[in-house]
């Protein structure tokens, strides 16, 4: 079994595989990387770099997109 760690995604604690990249995290959540913007510990990670950045225990990840608004 893969060892997991806990990260905080959009305010919720979630288990992910140790050493998972942000791109793998998005895949595990069934999210299209082109449809979300990723903030990792308060730093925006651009799409081409998502596969290079690995998550660590306790990391705060925000996944945002556009919704209806004025």
């Amino acid at each position: 079994m893969t060892e997991t760690i806990d990260v905080v995604v959009n305010g919720e604690r979630r288990p992910v595989a140790r050493d998972a990249t942000l791109l793998e995290l998005l895949r595990s959540l069934a999210l299209d990387p082109r449809a979300v913007v990723v903030e990792h510990n308060r730093r925006i990670v651009r799409r081409p770099a998502l596969g290079d950045v690995r998550v660590a225990e306790g990391d705060a990840i925000e996944l945002v997109h556009f919704v209806g608004g004025g």
């Binding site: 995604v9 959009n10 305010g11 919720e12 959540l29 069934a30 999210l31 299209d32 449809a35 979300v36 913007v37 903030e39 308060r42 925006i44 651009r46 925000e62 996944l63 945002v64 997109h65 556009f66 919704v67 209806g68 608004g69 004025g70």
Partner: protein
């Protein structure tokens, strides 16, 4: 047709180096369903459509994203920083919005009061300066204070957006004098944002000479949003045309329209 001729003589609306056909901008919030939203936006004739930045809902379908219901190529997406109460938060939301990759424009809101949603002008100025430095084209939602509007222009904002009345109130243009003054004194476009309730409000607002109007609730909360969007389109065009035509002077006494001479004994 006279209207077409007059409108053709109007200069196009240019904000931050980009030119737009319509002077009406619309939001995408609070519609009862996405189909109604799409048809209302179409009926409004708007080029600029605002959107908000929010967390993806991890437990629901991805269809909640607005871009699944709005053709991004057809409209100019203007992200807002609605819901932000500090300059720091507004800057954070603006950066996230830009990263979505559509444009560098942002409708900057820094709210100072929960009940009235009136802007925190100190935070607004601070955020505007930061974002302008980072290359954003900032359209700043503000109150009808001339001095703040001037400071926002000095800060490098691409447009200043005074309110007609509080967000979502539908109270119409409460302070035409202040909005007119802001328009007279600023070089950058002045777009009235928030408070318009119905077509007459939009018409009166455009008659002050402002460059455009942004509205959301007036359409979304109308009984028939598509029909109201059509009405608003006409009202914005009518108000603009009337402003360009130049209204007659107001008089406190009557002036007959028919000749005083030639009356029978």
């Amino acid at each position: 047709m006279t209207t077409a001729v007059e409108l053709a003589q109007d200069t196009p609306l240019t904000i931050g180096g980009r030119t737009f056909q319509s002077r009406l901008m619309v939001g995408t919030g609070k519609y009862r369903d996405n189909d109604t939203m799409g048809r209302a936006i179409e009926a409004s004739g708007a080029d600029i459509v605002t959107v908000a930045v929010r967390r993806v809902n991890l437990d629901r379908t991805k269809e909640e994203g607005i871009l699944y219901h709005l053709e991004p190529k057809k409209y100019f997406l203007l992200a807002n920083t609605a819901g932000c109460f500090t300059a720091e938060d507004a800057v954070r939301y603006a950066r996230l919005a830009r990263e979505a990759g559509f444009n560098e424009f942002v409708k900057l809101e820094v709210i100072g009061d929960q009940e009235t949603l009136l802007p925190d002008v100190q935070g607004l100025l601070e955020a505007a300066r930061t974002l302008v430095r980072e290359g954003f084209k900032v359209l700043a939602y503000t109150n009808e204070d001339l001095v703040i509007a001037l400071r926002l222009e000095d800060a490098g904002c691409a447009a200043v957006m005074p309110l007609a009345s509080p967000i979502g109130s539908g109270l119409g243009l409460l302070n035409p004098f202040s909005v007119r003054t802001i328009k007279r004194r600023l070089q950058v476009p002045v777009i009235v944002d928030a408070g318009v309730g119905t077509a007459s409000d939009a018409c009166v607002t455009m008659e002050q000479g402002v460059d455009g109007i942004l509205m959301n609730t007036a359409l979304a909360a109308a009984r028939d949003p598509v029909a109201m969007a059509h009405a608003m389109r006409l009202a914005v065009e009518a108000g603009r045309a009337a402003f360009l035509a130049g209204r007659m002077p107001r008089r406190e006494v009557a002036l007959p329209s028919s000749p005083a001479e030639g009356m029978l004994d």
